[in-house]
Symmetry: C2
């Protein structure tokens, strides 16, 4: 049987029908902001499948931000305009008349990595998603980890600066996400460009038009300000991962998302920044890897897998 | 059937025969430094049981520091003089001719709390041990968590000061343990007493003779320097727990050991220090508790339980 995997993001919604052989045999995508309600979204996807494919599906798995896996609602999402409490599972089940399962997007990606990527067969690992926000998917004791409150872990909101922490969208200060989430990187860039006196290609940009990609492009060419920004991102990410790896005695950590597309360039610097903080026994065995599915969509594969098999 | 639980610490070794009704029906203790080798220790315990009790046992569970639960060895223990790699399970099995299981002492305590204390029935929680060192026992996804390297988590060695961190026995800098472990507290106390000009009962002590208990005694009487030391401990512990609780979306955290004996006095301050760093959804539901077995020996109960039932 085929299952439908859906990856709901703040910008795009991507859907894919996944076959019994775990191949995506149909896919499509939509702009998130074209839907005023979750019901609109479910109706459009229903219509899309009806009109554009003959493949039938036996169930639906959805990865989305701000999911509470216990209530099967999206709760207080900062990047969706569909309300505060969105009963997404209920909406899709009533639209499709098919069993639907909702999970944190980072957890869906971790399932994808676990079943089809670099984490095959692992009992314990973390996948860190680096995009607009910073998220985490955890497999612990051989099962996907949903957390005590169904949130699955809020790695983007551990505080990495106790004293002078930046304000974060969550209301806290010093959260990792406020430094290495999309907005955070651009804030750091703006500050570093403004206060650098030396020459840098980044001075030629209108500050509001700089993108993370540009920063990495110039850092690879050894532009000093761009290198300084990338080093700052790596230091913060490496420090945060060290806390996770020490607390949980982890060996394998995967990076996924926009920043992870910078490959070895970001990985090597992050690993170097991490190591001084790791316990000797953990440092010896640590492996930081770029997701093997970084160019694909592990959240769709993971969500469809979850719909088919449950969470183990 | 009865099982023998053993709690090996840097100062004392406590043994207990636990009945089928989970009651300790025989117990004894030994000074750790009277044994030059692990074999001496096993022989003495064997003789002790033979001479002093008629209860038979069906298996042995041991909680100890620096355990690798995968190899069943103690590895590079800073507080034991029995060698670098100590095949403790093998030694006890050959001495007693009984199946023996070795586990991290904090994990043994977590099993005790889970089966017989305040954590009964929980799927996910952390127990933090506050003694000479700072350790962690984790139950995640309904099973005791042994970690990817068999170390079970090194919470005492997460870095809480990236910039000016204190040197730690592990070789790192800024580790939590170097601030709120036994030595760390006394180091903080010494510094604060030395640099305080106001009046404090702590000035009457010979610095090397101050004990953690004294500091708390005077803090309860509002001695300003003692209060300052306790606040510093609470801030560091609270901050560290916030990182754990956010990363793992935890609800229940238990404190165990010497510092936990200060009860509400330490709990309230730690909770207050934690809250500003917690994500809103996690903050709402967080519960910090003193171990219900703090006056007993959960590690013996937990180790015996493990010997009898395995780790789930």
């Amino acid at each position: 049987m085929n299952y439908l995997g859906i990856d709901i993001g703040g910008t795009n919604i991507v859907i894919g029908i996944v076959s019994a052989e775990n191949e995506i045999i149909y896919s499509n995508s939509f702009k998130t902001n074209t839907f005023l309600t979750a019901k609109d979204c479910a109706n459009t996807i229903f219509k899309d499948l009806k009109e554009n494919t003959k493949h039938t599906i036996a169930g639906i798995g959805i990865g989305a931000p701000s999911v509470n896996s216990f209530t099967q609602n999206i709760e207080n999402p900062p990047n969706l305009i569909w309300g505060d409490i969105i009963p997404l599972t209920e909406i899709f089940e009533s639209t499709f008349n098919l069993k639907t399962t909702l999970i944190n997007d980072a957890s869906a990606a971790a399932i994808g990595e676990w079943k089809f990527g670099g984490a095959k067969g692992l009992e314990n690992f973390a996948l860190i998603t680096l995009g607009t926000g910073v998220g985490i998917g955890l497999v612990l004791n051989g099962k996907i980890y949903n957390g005590a409150n169904g949130l699955g872990g809020e790695f983007g909101h551990i505080c990495i600066d106790r004293n002078n922490g930046r304000e974060c969208n969550c209301g806290g200060h010093g959260c990792l996400e406020s430094y290495i989430g999309k907005e955070g990187i651009l804030k750091t860039a703006k500050q570093k460009i403004e206060f650098s006196s030396g020459s840098s290609k980044l001075h030629d940009f209108i500050p509001s038009e700089i993108k993370s990609k540009d920063i990495f492009k110039f850092a690879r060419k050894e532009d000093p300000v761009a290198v300084d920004i990338v080093d700052s991102i790596s230091r913060d990410l490496g420090y945060a991962i060290s806390m996770l790896a020490n607390s949980l005695d982890l060996k394998q950590i995967f990076l996924f998302g926009g920043l992870a597309k910078e490959g070895n360039f970001i990985k090597k610097r992050t690993l170097k920044a991490m190591k001084p903080y790791l316990m000797p026994n953990i440092k010896e065995n640590i492996s930081l890897q770029i997701s093997e599915l970084n160019e694909q969509n592990p959240a769709i594969l993971g969500a469809a897998y979850l719909a088919k098999n449950g969470d183990s």
